[in-house]
Symmetry: C2
Subunit: 500 residues, 2 copies
């Protein structure tokens, strides 16, 4: 990735003039805002970590995650969270060594995978520490074992999504895990944040793929997973999954793999978001469940159609359905009022599935504010949660004088509920970071009040901690702090991240 | 249940004379052993718990679980683990009150559901406590809420399997959870022990049905689960599931439910356990996956056929396959060398599915030792684990002069692995408890050495702790102890259970 922008510069998006016109006429975007080159703070001296690099280039490359707040902050020239250096251990034992040295010298350790966090997962606290070191896992990139009989693959944690798929494809297998961060994020990052991919209906969430793991902690090595499932006490794997580097560093994962199969995409139109919601619920509860199942609300459908990003749905809502060829959900979708739009909308969606972060950069360049947030809850609360979060975003940004476009889709379904993913675009205010934080605060309060979870697949990081505290309550927080003390007695692992 | 026997006396099994002959000729069983009426130890005085009953009858009814060691011990007249009294709280708040009073008076609290533990889950340590109280959840029996939209049901934790199914059936739903303990065990017990039912292939394990839970702990109330799945930190639900009353008392569960459907059973013959294993693996990995999928080894098939308990498989292995009518696995089973045996073997299995514990009582009455143990691992290790555990049991009991019949089946399958369930019958030695403990120790060592889990669905209790310590290692044990200190600071919850 280039500094403070998403992905490969060759894939950068140029906004069509129609979009630029829309930004200025509908949202009042007045044009590009000044960008200041980043100024690194003076580094604290670090002890001799394995593979240590204290160059300005290395520090800048590890300076920030990929939330809109991260990007806006760095565009203003500030990189307050840049580490003092980058350690690149080459093995599990070297990761343990980093943790030992850091504990001895009271250096905060921030594990780095693909740095695609959108919740401040790399913004560790610096106060009270002698320095901050980025623990970069990019040298742990081996496929350790492929077990065709059990259909598992054991990888080191620094392997990226595309590299894992490439190594598996050579043997005819796939993970089937394609989150929007796929091109850059790592398997360790997927695990540490409970990632969920675009084909989660068919392939499950990443946490459901993990059958065993190895983690380096401040108390030593933790190895978990002797069977697909077990009744030997609590499932401790599920305590490391989602631990966001605060309990330990996941160094190796054994993952369920499947034979690679082609996905057949199609677009469907529904007269309303409610009607589409009933249809996707029917597939989730009574099948046949496709591998990919997405439903945009009226606003998202209209905006995507107007900007040429996807098919028109006649004023209704567009669904993208991708199945593996075994059971076609077409009859069920028709039964629930869907109109087939053919393969084209699906192909268009697939071609652009990793494009949204590039589009965000272009929108930020143009002077717009663009960000996403997401939640999940049970089906009976879903319509009310949708309305409450939408109203909160419209209200907060409207009150700030920057009325936004708020779009939403369902992209992860379960028998008992589903996720809601919101995208917001507005004109940047004078202080766009404060502008977004106010909107986010309002949306977070609406999510909690609706009884929904503060995040379905983005994680907690630094940004979600206040609502997370409400979600798990003081007893849940006490459990997390107890585990933290046991696994990170020196308190050096990702301070300020996850724990309420 | 009657005292120290399984279930309803009306369902007691009488051994056919052929079985009695087999026991004496093949195993050297010499006849019934003396049974001594139980002698309750003098009770310690207890503080004023909600719903306290200190009668001898109540103490005896809560004196023991249902492992063979439990039954043998109580048949010898010893009930060393009988509580000093039984508290029957009527609400979550009264459960909290029991925990507060117990902490104040240093009384050990043993949560009781259906008392069907086969791993010493009710044998709490008494040393260092002023007394032991059984916390009986039999008054927490409400269906709190049925949500047809989300397909969830919220139950209090003391509801038994049949009662839950009955309440759901009135609305056309089912949990689909039918472990062998089904008739007596409670939902709270299923959750606290990570139970897995006979239809786990179709309906999942019990832990996969739990979308939300409420627990009373020594630190207060814990409420978890705002969505089917979430990326809000570690999945803390999975820390309470399998906690066996050592972290808190689960008082309420919200469970995924499904429309009730008829299961169509059939029997299949395979030429060998290996051939059958390949077939069930093919169904688990490539489908169609039936709801019930069981495969007996040659020994279990032969013994069941000889005793009229199930169909003959021509010297091979019997599989029982129950599907829900949507996708018949017959073609796949044929492809993998299976021979269809028609519906009858499936109907026979279904009719006798909860009968094994009654049969065990009859075998114990006749002077035989009968017990089961189980494990799970990944497919590639399964054949070797099977051989190692079988050899360990044959060796240990043979060395003791009581050569056993050792039978095995696979009854829970996953894409990446499966369970192995062993049944052992031998003549009782002079000290049958010591005899079984030696065999169990040998089998446990074989399981651990094979890299398998010490239990797929029985739990840890008191009996599995030594191997559990090896399975999760010192770092895993440190995590459990940290959670224990956070949730049970007085250390009164199920002392001696679960924690290594």
């Amino acid at each position: 990735m280039t500094l403070f922008r998403w992905g490969d510069p060759a894939d950068a998006v140029t906004l069509p003039s129609g979009v630029r016109d829309l930004l200025s006429t509908a949202l009042g975007v007045t044009g590009p805002r000044p960008v200041t080159g980043p100024e690194l703070p003076a580094p604290a001296p670090l002890p001799d970590f394995p593979g240590l690099d204290v160059s300005a280039g290395a520090r800048l490359r590890h300076a920030t995650g990929m939330s809109t707040v991260d990007l806006l902050t760095s565009r203003s020239g500030a990189v307050p969270d840049a580490p003092d250096g980058v350690a690149r251990p080459a093995s599990h034992d070297e990761v343990l060594e980093v943790l030992r040295i850091a504990a001895d010298h009271r250096v905060a350790v921030v594990p780095h995978g693909g740095r695609t966090s959108v919740v401040g997962g790399l913004r560790a606290l610096r106060d009270g520490y002698a320095g901050v070191v980025a623990l970069d896992l990019s040298r742990l990139v081996r496929l350790v074992r492929l077990d065709r009989t059990s259909r598992t693959a054991t990888f080191e944690a620094g392997v990226t999504g595309p590299r894992a798929e490439q190594m598996l494809a050579e043997a005819g297998f796939t993970l089937g895990h394609f989150p929007q961060s796929f091109q850059y994020a790592t398997l360790g990052g997927f695990a540490a944040t409970r990632s969920s991919g675009q084909a989660s209906a068919g392939y499950g969430r990443f946490d459901q793929m993990v059958v065993a793991l190895r983690a380096a902690t401040g108390a030593g090595t933790l190895e978990l997973g002797r069977a697909p499932q077990s009744a030997a006490g609590p499932d401790l794997r599920q305590l490391l999954l989602g631990s966001e580097g605060a309990f330990g560093v996941i160094t190796e994962l054994t993952l369920r793999i499947r034979p690679a199969r082609e996905v057949r995409y199609a677009g469907w139109a529904f007269p309303s978001f409610d009607a589409g919601m009933r249809a996707v619920r029917a597939l989730a509860q009574d099948g046949p469940l496709p591998a990919v199942l997405r439903l945009s609300d009226e606003a998202e459908t209209a905006v995507n159609a107007a900007t040429g990003a996807s098919a028109d749905a006649g004023g209704g809502c567009l669904a993208i359905v991708g199945h593996l060829g075994d059971a076609d959900p077409a009859d069920r979708l028709t039964e629930y009022g869907g109109e087939p739009l053919g393969e084209e909308p699906g192909k268009v969606w697939e071609a652009g599935r990793f494009r949204a972060p590039y589009l965000r950069d272009a929108l930020l360049d143009a002077g717009a504010l663009a960000e996403t947030l997401e939640t999940a809850t049970f089906w009976d609360r879903l319509p009310q949660t949708y309305t409450a979060v939408r109203d909160a975003l419209l209200g907060a940004l409207g009150d700030a004088g920057t009325p936004p476009i708020v779009m939403c889709h369902i992209s992860h379904v379960y028998e008992t509920g589903a996720s809601l993913y919101f995208t917001v675009v507005a004109a940047q205010a004078e202080d766009p970071v404060a502008q977004w934080r106010a909107a986010k605060t309002s949306a977070g309060a609406a999510i909690v009040a609706s009884g929904a979870t503060i995040t379905h697949h983005h994680g907690i990081g630094r940004d979600h901690r206040p609502w997370y505290a409400q979600e798990i309550g003081p007893v849940g927080a006490a459990v997390l702090h107890a585990v933290k003390r046991a696994l990170d007695p020196a308190g050096i692992l990702n301070p300020g991240i996850l724990l309420p």
